[in-house]
Symmetry: C3
Subunit: 342 residues, 3 copies
């Protein structure tokens, strides 16, 4: 019911850290600090389902490449989320593998990007939001646990949506005059896609997972994935390609494909459905790529649903598509590899 | 947890078709083709909860009476949905009674009506949507199964909503210029209802289940119901009458009553709550008619909820009302005929 | 899974009333009438989780102080809801402690406030809505029961939202010309909060639970709480203070704080999370106050979500925040006082 763990060493160090938590001795002494740091880095990497401190460190660099504030917000957010979960007595395995950090990482980043990273109000709100998203994570784990479904980035999507939709209602939080609420508009602009836009879009699909439009941020993130798990990196690349192909076939504007906004959900869906929550087999590769295409088709609908309230799609298309395809897989023995659960 | 089956012969032929699936021999040989055709026709009829191939054939004619493309989209959609479910290894009883076909039928029709039946893009998108709605159906069956609730047309409502809300975001899919997003407006126009409008509305309530406004399409659909199950036809007529009465009492514009847009949900609610998912008894007739009235009252709220994003109500009012009344019935022994499940 | 019961005598009289229901004798004879009246008064008090007839009577006076129609709608609504539940054979303990009345109370009030108390159409619609909200309550109890979560005012929020969003679609129901649908606007107006506004806001937070903006109505409601349960009254006061502090810190307009629209959800969240659904301990006080602050932050987002459809936030922020914090608490042994349920 959580993300896959394939780093036994990391697991061990997490256990050790947990052990000193229980003893209650030497608060933040060096070994404990080291354990906490590893949990935080793994928390960063769990955005792409990897409990890998190395990938987390590379992700951190990638964010800093987009702007040092973003690197800082992401890291601090993961730390606050992980610390809150420990303080509240959350499950130690979840904390150890970074599962209590990645929603907070994205939540803090969302504050920085949408409310302005350099306002003190943004920093304080991000701190509070990272505490709250930990409670929301626990709630979502309980609610989806009934169906044996993972919580994915749903907690982050909930908190980020509430925050961006509600922010213009608070004068000390919102510094941009008018809010963003508007009726959705139909797509305009050329759909002709050149090789340069294709390449930019391929990498930007990775960067947009963290709200960043720069292709080189995406390339760094892909490097992190490659270092941690080559199979996962391959699946993610397939997901990005399917996302671009679907968006092009349906007629999304080329500019939206090039900046990664049409395809980032496909990367996450492909990862989740092939190797993380379903076994990596030929049937699941096909199923995952159908899912990746579906997420791309779902994205503008989500954007249009939130537009009149001033909200954003975030990773809602990924969350909704993945939960549907995971729940559906239970009825399809050819996909799930086990007899139907109905 | 599925729709009621009261056609043992049909069940038998479904079993036979399933048997040859398992053997894997003679792909699409004549007997198997005949079995598949029966499943598809039953799938059409399951839109009104009937596992009857005869009713399905009449429904097909009714759609063709509104336009041959609609008959074709409906039939092809049901076939694609049923075939996808078989390919993925879905439960054979569900496939045999047509339960894997009706959501795909409505999804394909929705594409034809909202995106233009004669565009190649619409046909291809309908094909993809019918594959995806089969996965969504499996997911909804799993999710609602926790409460012992049926999936109804919820899968279709989800896919159709995503499609109509998202379509203007894709230039190769949307051929109508501006999207449909607009703030909801208050009702205008006379509420005085003449006998001609009354009669038209009564039949159009049936036609609008399939998005059609013509009274004679509705009359043909009612004929299909009558041929398959006279009691169900009677309950459906009561539902249509209650829908019209409620809409008139609340002050819906007469033109909306006459074209069936205010009452089609009532027909489906009455069918579902009296004889299909609850036993047909005096107490459930009353309960079903309260539900039919409630669905009529819920409809404009659903339309207003979707309007700013450019979406439609589809059969959301039916789905929401029926699920609430079915879940509620578990607490009321006088309605459900069994001790409370709380 | 229901609200706390701390009135054993009341429980007894409820049982007696239930007994005569079963016997079917002496419909509305004096002892039975007295039992029913106590159930109705307890139903009023359950809006703030108190199964206390005394508090219910004071609440009734408080509503009448705002306008006799409101007192009448509230009382009649509770009576209709309670009677419907008895008629449908709902659980007798729930009826006896008033748990079948409070959603109907708020639903009827909502009709009076939003549709105009003096229209005959409003009275008839309130009657129908109170019948339907009883079915919705039963459904929500079933649905949330899977997670062991209480239904709170979710049934009322659902019915009230449908009603206010859908009302402009019906000409005999809506008497105010244009509907209320509009894109959300950013906050304007001073955030400087004087002591008079502070005091007004503190009491108005109680009054707005019932849609009333008058501080003296809130003071009367607080009196009712004090008479029934002094600890609960203290927690509610803390909730109101946290709500005001959070709203001020985030920069809500002072006028919104003074009329209670920013803080009423905090009162309910504090009550629910400290002493009603979680044990009253130091850890839960802290948890409840974080929840009370979160509800205040969530409120403008809910308002913005409903604005384009013409809806209102009602007690949605309270419901959503409380359900999340209750579900989350199951994973935090330090808060729930028991081992994690995951």
């Amino acid at each position: 019911m959580g993300h896959a763990t394939d780093a036994p060493g990391a697991e061990g160090s997490a256990k050790a850290a947990g052990g000193s938590t229980r003893a209650g001795a030497r608060v933040l002494g060096p070994p404990r600090l080291r354990g906490f740091a590893a949990q935080v880095l793994r928390g960063q990497a769990q955005v792409t389902f990897l409990p890998s401190a190395v990938a987390g460190a590379v992700f951190c660099l990638a964010l800093a490449a987009a702007g040092w504030e973003y690197g800082l917000y992401g890291l601090a957010g993961t730390a606050v989320g992980t610390a809150t979960a420990r303080l509240l007595g959350a499950d130690r395995d979840r904390v150890g593998t970074g599962l209590e950090g990645f929603n907070a990482c994205l939540t803090a980043l969302c504050c920085a990007v949408f409310l302005g990273a350099r306002h003190l109000s943004t920093a304080l709100l991000a701190l509070a939001a990272c505490v709250v998203v930990t409670v929301v994570t626990a709630a979502v784990v309980q609610l989806l646990g009934v169906w044996g479904l993972p919580s994915l980035t749903l907690p982050y999507c909930l908190v980020a949506s509430v925050m961006t939709i509600g922010a213009p209602g608070f004068r000390r939080v919102w510094h941009q005059g008018e809010g963003l609420a508007a009726l959705p508009r139909h797509a305009t602009g050329t759909t002709a896609l050149g090789p340069a836009e294709l390449a930019r879009g391929f990498f930007a699909d990775f960067a947009q997972i963290f709200f960043m439009p720069q292709w080189y941020v995406g390339a760094l993130l892909l490097l992190g994935l490659l270092l941690a798990d080559r199979r996962a990196a391959g699946v993610a690349c397939l997901g990005s390609a399917v996302g671009i192909a679907t968006a092009w076939a349906l007629g999304a504007p080329a500019a939206r494909i090039a900046d990664g906004t049409t395809g980032y959900n496909s990367v996450l869906v492909a990862l989740a459905l092939c190797g993380v929550f379903l076994p990596a087999r030929p049937a699941t590769v096909a199923y995952a790529l159908v899912g990746a295409g579906a997420a791309t088709a779902v994205a503008p609908a989500m954007a249009a649903l939130f537009a009149p309230s001033g909200g954003h799609a975030f990773t809602w298309p990924f969350v909704v598509t993945t939960l549907v395809f995971l729940a559906g897989a239970k009825s399809f023995p050819r996909v799930s590899g086990s007899p139907p659960a109905a």
